[in-house]
Symmetry: D2
């Protein structure tokens, strides 16, 4: 059940918390402070977000990624609306229908071979605007980096947000791996979100070294008006909020977010380099962040999984997903490649 | 905004994490384990729950109390149902309508001067059973200890669960302060839940020394069948689950749950003793657990709050609520009573 | 099961359709017209509503009263809101939790001995505004005439709407028997709705001689923006809309609405006069419209029901409800009073 | 806005009510009967359904097709479930997201060029069963006849229901045009529903000559247990139920359902015959029922619509939809074909 190796390649959320994150939690564990976010730790963390994303940025801490997504989507929809996203989007594939339950909306999904969606795919969906028989598109949700490990360039995002805004729609970004995307692009967090027209962002922490906690970052301040009620009613208001706040404050200080993401990305590139020329192994997606999608001989997959667990991405095509993490080491990769080669040799 | 004293009396969730809880978290922070609960820490914690509550007990960890309540209530209702509870219940008063949103149900609330409900109040509500014009009662939710700091005796619970089961209803217990109740009664956790007919329990951790995390404990195993889907869709599935699991394992080991709860209760009794004879001060509820409800001269409330923050419970009647915690000290109480006397003297 | 008398006193919806309504339906049954309301019958009916309620009035036809109420309430709420109403309100008591399911909101109910609510009851509920732990009141719903057969005077409505608007809330009127109320007051339909600040009205037709169909009448035009989507998603968009439209056009023409309502009201007063001095019979509410609430000796109720069915309103207090209808005749009343006397004599 | 011809080809719900249906309504309009279905008309209609569909069939009348579908789907799902259907399904395309709002479920849609789905498309979706990250498929919904005017053969339905039942799923049939399908197949209503494993059926009336009203027909009696509560909470319980009941009783008597459906089907075949050899006109789907899908030269569409309104089905491919109805005459077709030829000649 549990991988016996120290750092596997199953998921970046199989790792623990980064030591600096743990230190911050320990330091925050003293005395009483008001619960539910009315405390100095939370206030300080919110200021840090304003430093990074600019004046007027509003931040709401939540527990997890699904939570961040569903509160964000509620803020920009009514139940008769439709949310446009990639078929591969986490909100469509991996949240057990939470977006539908919380918003009442229909998800209009677009096929995507690389996890990204394009304006030309969105456009044909809008002929139903104004027709009461159809759920009305009012939001586009994109994932940065995508579930397939690819990254939107800023101008690609800008094209989507411009089109969306021109048609009265808002744009949500699922940034579960936003830090990995920024590291990959060599750009700042603000440059690939607020500056290119994103209205509301699920800012991921857990996959980048936090123990728990995500942040909803709001750039369109109108959306902040009722947000605290949405968060509370959606069970995403933490009582001992300070313990999420100090993690984010630490992540955004001294560029820890970048250091962690960059390291994870580099480990993925290293792994890619080590395997790309191995016969029988095919990397099927651009390795932009800390994810590899790899086609393997079908029979070795279970044997490899047994020694170092990971997930099969596409059963039919025999494609697996390998994730690196902030704590992946070169030794982890060396050992894993050795395993891979051993099993390949046995075919 | 923030109380300047080390341990205030605003709420038991204004405290941090107990040192033993923090130690357990630190110890769990190594290497990779599978996310979402398929890890040895979670398995071990689940076994601990079976030790405490008996064979067959099913446990699902969640993030917080509102989360525990809404997933529990979903497990025992359909949207056309009604949930019977006290008007003062947390699910009715303090969750921003989360139960209605998640379940679609109506809450049928019963007046209660002490936070408890009685069978004779529930009975008249059942004449609508079978009549399609009315939301159909199918669940009773009781809080132990209640929001007014009182405690149900086991036979009182048994009376409710027997009646409910006889009428095809299930019983949920909101046990945000279940440990304080058990400590107060001098009974085991199982004796006031499973043994007296509770079907599903929100087991509170955060208010008794955890950093975050609650547990849904299921005694009617039929309810466990779909529970993991309900938890996930309700945004309450933690990825790095081990960090909740080890907290609960620690809480249930060496009777830490009892030690914490007993201490908090004792501190409340100490505070009660110190103030009960002060003129102008009136304790309005039985001090069974770590909560005091106190009627004060209206004008001193804001002055006292300024020096040591707490919540007004009933504006109209000038009643405030003081909570003690696992970390409340005798010095905290001494200092607080001194403050109180100072302000009373100034009236 | 079925009453053997021609016109019973069980409910005004036990009657059929008024002959003029039936004639209009028959006349509309020719040729093809576009479905879903884009037809000349519907356009004409909408104009008629503007004549009655004034320029800018927006009308949306729906199937039934619960439908009218839930689409109206959706238009003025978000799921984190609370709706304030009387405990006796149809939306609270008689719609199987439909308002909760459709809106996700909590209903905050006010006790009322006569079915009306007062500003002084609403006021104390507003101290929770802005506090994220509590569902946020944003709407008041009043019933005209009330479920207890009483009628708000225009100045009573104005007091509620003024207070509500001053506090950022909107006011919905459940007008299932709005015509009976207007007839009772001797006022026009506009005078007791739009002119006294109602934002959105469920205009009842079925209880006043229609075969089926109710209308949502919107005075705050902002609420009309998305209304057609809400109606459609809520299953309340009729395909052969003309058949609802012509009924309403007929009802509003030549004051048929008033004639029907006035007659029903008169029949109730006649019945009241006939029984008010009978020993053992006590009329417990003001007889403002077509409803009587009557306390009877407990033992005669089932015997009387067997010969002419009606509903028990309050089992505990032995109070029954008798409704007259547009088609109730003096002979019906004479026969019913005779029955009543016969059974009273047998006690 | 409104077609000037007596019987257009826009939709079968642009027609009025069949004369026999109208007569039945008129005849039912006398005296009082208990509301909400506890009346002899409704009882008699329910018996008629048992005659047609066999002993134990349970029937619940509702207002319209969307209503029938959403109550049916609620009866067979929980919010964490997924409903499998064709992309072209009415529940997916034409109900403004009502299924998502009412059930909370995700719709898993399958591409289909003819409106039908096949077992081999459903099978791959089931690998997610048991995995809490994904909405759990528990229901298949098929439309008979499909939205593209095609008809499932009984063995095709049987294949789907067998597979579904083998995997713990239930099968809903959207039978908005079930009568047209039966007429087309030359089979009885029972033979293409209950006998081939359908669990719950939306039985369409409005498109086959009713004024308003659909019926939910339940074959799996377990689903009937709570159905009346679902119907009521979903706003689909009619007060003057007799007026829906007598329409259905009439439709099922003397094979009026078959007569109407057969006629509409024949008119479609006649129209098809008249146009199939016209250059520039291409019939794109099998004409099994009363629907034609026709590819036309783009420029004539608006001109033709102006004289006789109909809907464009696929803007991109220049395909329109023409529906015939129970009241379409040979003269209507003659006139329409003449119009078509006139506009084609002008190209």
């Amino acid at each position: 059940m549990v991988s016996t190796d120290r750092h596997g390649f199953a998921s970046d959320n199989n790792s623990g918390a980064h030591p600096k994150i743990m230190d911050a939690i320990i330091k925050a564990n003293q005395g009483h402070v008001i619960a539910y976010g009315d405390d100095p730790y939370t206030q300080s963390a919110c200021k840090k977000f304003e430093e990074v994303f600019g004046k007027g940025t509003q931040v709401y801490f939540v527990y997890n990624g699904t939570g961040a997504n569903v509160v964000s989507l509620q803020a920009i929809t009514s139940s008769f609306n439709a949310i446009i996203c990639a078929q591969t989007a986490h909100i469509n594939e991996d949240e057990c229908g939470a977006p539908e339950k919380f918003t009442g909306c229909k998800l209009l999904t677009l096929p995507s071979s690389d996890g990204k969606i394009r304006v030309k795919q969105v456009e044909p969906l809008l002929h139903i605007l104004g027709n009461e028989h159809h759920a009305q598109p009012c939001a586009v949700s994109i994932t940065q980096a995508t579930e397939l490990g690819t990254v939107y360039r800023p101008e690609e995002i800008k094209a989507i947000t411009t089109f969306a805004h021109d048609h009265g729609m808002r744009v949500h970004m699922d940034g579960a791996r936003i830090c990995n995307a920024a590291a990959s692009l060599g750009l700042g967090l603000r440059e690939i979100t607020r500056d290119v027209g994103i209205d509301i962002l699920s800012f991921g922490g857990t996959k980048n070294g936090l123990m728990f906690g995500e942040a909803v970052v709001i750039f369109d301040t109108e959306l902040a008006r009722d947000f605290k009620f949405i968060r509370k009613q959606s069970t995403q208001l933490a009582s001992k909020m300070r313990f999420i706040a100090v993690q984010f404050e630490t992540l955004l200080s001294d560029e820890l977010w970048l250091e962690n993401a960059r390291h994870a990305n580099e480990m993925a590139r290293l792994l890619a380099n080590e395997i790309k020329d191995i016969p029988g192994v095919e990397i099927t997606q651009s390795v932009d962040i800390n994810a590899l999608f790899v086609k393997l001989p079908r029979e070795i997959i279970p044997r490899l999984q047994e020694e170092s667990f990971f997930y099969v991405w596409d059963e039919g095509q025999s494609i697996v997903r390998w994730m690196t993490s902030f704590d992946t080491t070169e030794e982890d990769i060396e050992a894993f490649v050795k395993l891979l080669k051993k099993h390949l040799a046995s075919v």
